[in-house]
């Protein structure tokens, strides 16, 4: 139990320190009683908005209905909307010159929405946006040592050759650039210092993408944040898997030969 509390505090410290120097961005609030587990699928989820004083908060459901949200000391609780699938947690702020936005996609359980997440991703949430292409679906997550793909767009159009900053809660950072089609390939770093065997024993970390753009005197900043997990290749061996398939083939050959001989007798 003490280890769990300590790990929670360490994660919270890591998350806060990692967002401390970034633009307005979302991160999960530190869990009070460990993780919710599968039993808590319908439970509310709490997020922290860093550097978000004065921001307007909203939650967009899969059918694009917008619900205003209230934060308390940067803490926002997202309750079940009764609708399944991804929702977009959005924070926007503007002083007339600087337009800031922070987007986080939150999976909520409920009745099937009948809508594909592509509708929510395509929906314009801010002038400058980092859109996942695609978002994770069933049996898929962001993993370390894999590539995640995004499209950076400005007023709905892809933004070519734009610099995007990557920061992770584990301390990695990188300067990335979109290609001519606005596509951004993010190589999620293998930067977990403590790796336990098995999915259940490891907590996810956070990564944050920040993009900036200026048009005339107007400046735009947007962030996208999400969890990423330790790549299971640390405890899953493809080589052993291949060897086992070969063993299965040999066993199959043996069964075939034996049954044939029995038949011939």
């Amino acid at each position: 139990m003490k280890i769990k509390v300590l790990a929670g505090v360490m994660l919270a410290v890591a998350l806060f320190s990692f967002t401390a120097q970034a633009a307005m961005s979302w991160a999960p609030a530190p869990a009070k009683h460990g993780h919710g587990g599968h039993g808590g699928r319908h439970a509310a989820k709490t997020f922290m908005l860093h550097d978000g004083v004065g921001a307007e908060l909203s939650l967009i459901n899969p059918k694009l209905s917008v619900m205003p949200m209230q934060g308390e000391h940067g803490r926002v609780t997202v309750k079940s909307t009764g609708m399944d699938n991804y929702h977009a947690l959005l924070a926007t702020r503007s002083d007339g010159k600087l337009y800031e936005s922070a987007v986080r996609y939150v999976y909520m359980f409920g009745k099937p929405s009948g809508e594909s997440p592509s509708l929510l991703i395509k929906h314009a949430k801010a002038a400058l946006e980092i859109k996942p292409a695609p978002l994770a679906r069933e049996h898929w997550r962001y993993y370390s040592n894999t590539e995640a793909v995004f499209v950076v767009s400005y007023k709905g159009k892809p933004l070519a050759n734009t610099t995007v900053l990557l920061k992770t809660a584990n301390g990695s950072d990188a300067v990335l650039q979109t290609d001519v089609a606005g596509k951004l390939i993010v190589a999620l770093p293998e930067d977990f210092s403590i790796i336990k065997s098995g999915r259940m024993g490891n907590r996810p970390s956070e990564f944050l993408l920040t993009a900036n753009y200026a048009e005339g005197e107007q400046r735009f900043t947007t962030t996208f944040s999400s969890a990423y997990h330790i790549n299971p290749e640390h405890w899953q061996s493809t080589e052993l898997g291949l060897a086992t398939v070969v063993a299965g083939m040999l066993l199959g050959g043996l069964i075939t030969v034996r049954s044939r001989r029995r038949k011939e007798k």
Binding site: H38, G39, R41, H42, N85, K111, P112, G114, E115, S116, P117, S118, P134, R137, E138, H139, W140, S197, G198, R199, M200, G201, P232, E233, W235, Q236, S237, T238, L240, G241, L242, T244, V245, V246, A247, G248, M249, L250, L251, G252, G253, I255, T256, S259, R260, R261, K263, E264
Partner: protein
């Protein structure tokens, strides 16, 4: 025989198209198409395949038993939020299933198609094919599909959700499903071919999965549809087969007693097709491939129908041409080593 007249060729074309759609379909119809199409398809299409267009009903069922029903039983709190997702999954499955019945197995399943293709390669490589399995062996294998459905899809996930067994058994069928390995490999992913060393349970399940995949690769060369015989989807189909619109019917004649070509043609070794005097011969193991109708030499004795509309009716002329085409395809079978010596 013209290829367009040959039901088996038509079926292979449909199987190929279904394979392409189910394994690579999201490239054409959108990454999230499973949310739109069904998310509970009645064949072994896998969600671990990053390009799949839809995925199999056994995935949500295992999750719902494990993550919803199990904890709800523990808490003694049954509500609509527990029952509705399971009913929605089953209703989606049944709506689709009514349309094609067990033909989902014989015409659309990627793993079924893969085993048939391997079997065709085996024929061309002149492996001595075991046309029919021994009756005793068939009888011994038959209950396995019910065990697979009962234990791996229902009981273990439920027990895992209730905390009686570990998380390893939360979705045990997916952990051992050969279609997970096949479809992800076909989509260019190696990440589903592994031995998981994180716990003894995961290791055992991954060893079973990989060994079974190797077994299927080799056994399919000389045996018809080895995995289909123990597939939990076959059992699930069997439960609902009476509600499907596609039917397999027989008008029994005394000639049936002496013939038996239908059961010989059956890839699932259902000998009861030959002996049954019933009108409805859609048996639990049937995959509605239609070979029994193709290889029935008597006019109108066997038929595959869509509701009341006949799709394929047995016909002596078709039988002759089909038999000839089959022999031409198979060529001369190489006699086995021992027979040669004798």
């Amino acid at each position: 025989m013209p290829l367009w007249k040959n039901l088996s060729v038509i079926r292979k074309v449909v199987q190929l198209l279904a394979f392409l759609f189910l394994v690579y379909g999201s490239v054409f119809v959108g990454f999230y198409s499973a949310d739109k199409l069904s998310g509970a398809f009645p064949v072994l299409a896998c969600a671990y395949d990053a390009k799949t267009a839809d995925y199999c009903v056994l995935i949500p069922l295992q999750h719902q038993f494990g993550h919803l029903l199990g904890p709800a039983i523990n808490a003694g709190a049954f509500g609509l939020s527990v029952i509705m997702p399971i009913l929605t999954t089953l209703a989606t499955f049944i709506i689709l299933f009514v349309l094609l019945n067990k033909a989902f197995c014989g015409w659309l399943c990627p793993l079924g198609f893969f085993q048939e293709v391997i079997g065709m390669i085996g024929q061309k490589l002149r492996f001595n094919r075991t046309d029919s399995l021994d009756d005793n062996l068939v009888d011994r294998i038959r209950p396995a599909k019910w065990l697979m459905l009962g234990l791996l899809v229902v009981l273990f996930p439920l027990a895992s959700g209730m905390g009686f067994v570990g998380h390893e058994l939360g979705d045990p069928f997916c952990k051992i499903c050969p279609s997970r390995i096949l479809t992800s490999l076909a989509a260019g992913q190696l990440n589903q071919l592994y031995i998981d060393t994180s716990s003894t349970g995961y290791m055992i399940l991954s060893i079973i999965a990989d060994t079974m995949f190797g077994l299927i690769l080799v056994l399919s060369l000389s045996m018809r549809q080895p995995f289909c015989r123990i597939c939990p989807m076959l059992a699930m189909h069997a439960l609902f087969r009476k509600v499907g619109l596609v039917k397999l019917v027989k008008n029994y004649t005394p000639r049936c007693e002496k013939c038996g070509l239908c059961s010989k043609a059956c890839p699932m070794d259902i000998r009861e097709i030959h002996t049954s005097k019933e009108k409805d011969i859609l048996f639990p193991d049937c995959t509605l491939c239609g070979r029994c109708v193709e290889f029935c030499p008597d006019k109108g004795v066997m038929a595959m129908k869509y509701a009341v509309i006949p799709i394929k009716v047995s016909d002596p002329q078709y039988f002759k041409e089909r038999n000839k085409a089959q022999k031409a395809w198979e060529g001369k079978q190489k006699p086995s080593r021992r027979v040669k010596k004798g």
